[in-house]
């Protein structure tokens, strides 16, 4: 596959999703260029999470096309998406609640490590090495996010905001090219939201990430996004640089509930 740097990393084209009578997405198209932070905004029920779920293949599109890194995503089985380089977090937390913080993040590295049932049961050398590498990777990511001291803690005992951060760590452990963040700032206070913005930018530089960010904290989105896509009722109503979109009449109307 030829990968030109100019080619967008993610291309969403005319995607539609229905749930019974509800139209969750209605012909949405946009692109995410490499190395960018793209904000995806819109009022409740606009279809932002549904779009994430299409990209991670949890939902099937009724129509349209999603291409990642030049190849179609729609024929890829769910469990292969992570290995392609798409990592995500979930709006309503989807951690492995019985596990420690470290184990949660170690599961994040699953798609990068090898060793099946037999190799593990027999403790074959390559499985032992893979296990060591997995632990090292998880500790590295935890340190990067300042979670090192919590490694052994049962994840269910942590406050909501910290759990969100563990989910971020778990996603980063899979060494993604594209990171989908679904409301990473929920459960944080004003000051923490500011810190999170700085962290997301720093992660992009250090790990060469491309980020698609769903967030209701407008200050966060407008502060760190290079490009913003606005949805309402499953349609794209505006797109552009943050300062352009912010004042877009359609968006203002959508948020005022017009």
């Amino acid at each position: 596959m030829v990968q030109s740097e100019a080619q967008p990393l993610l291309r969403v084209k005319d995607v539609a999703v229905h749930f019974g009578g509800i139209v969750a997405l209605d012909g949405v198209s946009f692109e995410v260029a490499r190395g960018r932070i793209v904000g995806l905004i819109g009022p409740n029920g606009a279809g932002k999470t549904t779009l994430f779920n299409c990209v991670s293949r949890l939902y099937d599109c009724d129509r349209g096309e999603i291409a990642f890194d030049g190849g179609s995503l729609l024929a890829v089985p769910r469990h292969r998406v992570a290995a392609l380089g798409i990592g995500r977090t979930f709006q309503n937390l989807a951690l492995f609640r019985s596990m420690s913080v470290l184990d949660n993040v170690m599961v994040g590295y699953h798609c990068r490590s090898r060793g099946g049932f037999l190799a593990n049961a027999l403790r074959l050398p390559h499985a032992v090495r893979a296990e060591r590498r997995t632990a090292a990777k998880a500790r590295e990511v935890l340190a990067l996010l300042g979670l090192g001291a919590l490694a052994a803690k049962p994840v269910a005992e942590l406050p909501f905001g910290t759990q969100k951060r563990v989910e971020l760590a778990r996603a980063l452990a899979s060494e993604p090219k594209l990171l989908l963040l679904d409301e990473p700032a929920s459960g944080l206070n004003h000051e923490e939201v500011g810190e999170l913005g700085a962290l997301i930018r720093e992660l992009r530089e250090r790990l060469q990430l491309t980020i698609l960010l769903v967030e209701h904290h407008m200050s966060l989105v407008m502060g760190i996004a290079d490009w913003v896509v606005a949805l309402n009722f499953g349609r794209r109503i505006a797109e552009g640089a943050p300062h352009e979109v912010r004042l877009h009449p359609e968006l203002v109307r959508a948020y005022l509930g017009g």
Binding site: R80, F96, V107, N120, L122
Partner: protein
């Protein structure tokens, strides 16, 4: 870690000394404890770790037992060879049963496995299979003697043979559950959407968990057949499956050592209940069961873990 290895060492020494301290009937009972421990570890991999309930694991135990008995009786296979053979057959059978079971969850999976559990004894009685299974009569097998002129009577020898297999199975289980695969199984149980998003092939892992679980239980069935020297359809009714489930809950779900505690419970509590009341032993058994679960809601293994962390905290 040091303490744990020391504890395991002491446990193995005690396990080796025990048969010389008790009667050969008690030795036979201890052999069954080991057999049940393997079976319960198998069920725990599936239900405790992977979250797939099975009300029919007695069927895999029966399959293992019959494999062993038929291979010895019809093919003259040596007793030590039939154990891995039974494990292999059950691995395949479990995997194949696990494939359609993928579509089922929770109560529906419980019903499907229950159906397997009730069907198995009747399948074993099926008259076209009688040539191999011996029908209602079952199959009688001889007790293996100690090899190389080792001066051990048959009951004790079989105990040591079973102990060796138990150690192997527990080491395999430990390795499997402590690493990448064990984490993946628990991830699927805890949050199957996220596990798949992390790249875990849920369907494959769930079927393989079924296969591995059935393999453990089948190995136990083969060893059980050797110990009892007899297989018959009615010893593998659905009650056996339920008792296995009781064993993993009382011993501790998703716990390796829990399999051993559960095995002690399902082997000895019925005897104790019988001594307390000849008229209603199962009522007494029920009282014990409720008592255990009430006092130790996370099983014996969970209670021990709690005690240890509390002591360490002091």
């Amino acid at each position: 870690m040091r303490g744990r290895i020391l504890f395991l060492g002491v446990l193995i020494v005690v396990a080796c000394a025990l048969p010389f301290l008790v009667s050969s009937y008690r030795t036979f009972q201890l052999t069954l404890v080991l057999v049940y421990a393997i079976a319960l570890l198998g069920l725990n991999i599936l239900t405790g770790y992977n979250g797939q309930i099975s009300l029919g694991h007695g069927a895999f135990y029966a399959l293992g037992a019959y494999c062993a008995a038929i291979l010895i009786d019809k093919a003259g296979a040596p007793y030590w060879a039939v154990v891995p053979a039974a494990g292999g057959v059950c691995l395949v059978a479990g995997f194949l049963f696990g494939l359609p079971a993928l579509r089922l969850e929770g109560l529906y999976l419980a019903l499907a496995t229950f159906a397997l559990g009730v069907a198995m004894p009747q399948l074993l009685k099926y008259h076209h299979l009688e040539k191999w299974t011996g029908g209602v009569q079952g199959i009688v097998i001889a007790k293996p003697e100690a090899p190389f002129g080792i001066p051990l009577e048959a009951d004790r020898w079989l105990y040591f043979f079973t102990l060796a297999v138990t150690l192997i199975m527990f080491v395999l289980g430990w390795n499997l559950l402590r690493g990448r695969i064990g984490r993946a199984l628990v991830a699927i149980r805890d949050q199957h959407t996220a596990s798949e998003a992390m790249g875990i092939h849920n369907a494959l892992y769930k079927s393989l968990a079924f296969g591995v679980s059935a393999m453990f239980t089948g190995v136990a069935g083969a060893l059980g057949a050797l110990a009892v020297q007899f297989v018959a359809p009615d010893s593998f009714g659905v009650f056996l499956s339920i008792v296995f489930l009781v064993g993993i809950v009382v011993g501790g779900l998703a716990s390796i050592s829990g399999a051993l505690y559960g095995a002690l419970f399902i082997q000895f509590i019925p005897n104790i209940a019988d001594e307390i009341s000849k008229a209603a032993p199962w009522a007494i058994f029920g009282v014990f069961m409720i008592g255990f679960v009430y006092l130790m809601p996370t099983g014996v293994a969970g209670a021990i873990r709690l005690l240890l962390t509390r002591r360490r905290a002091q």
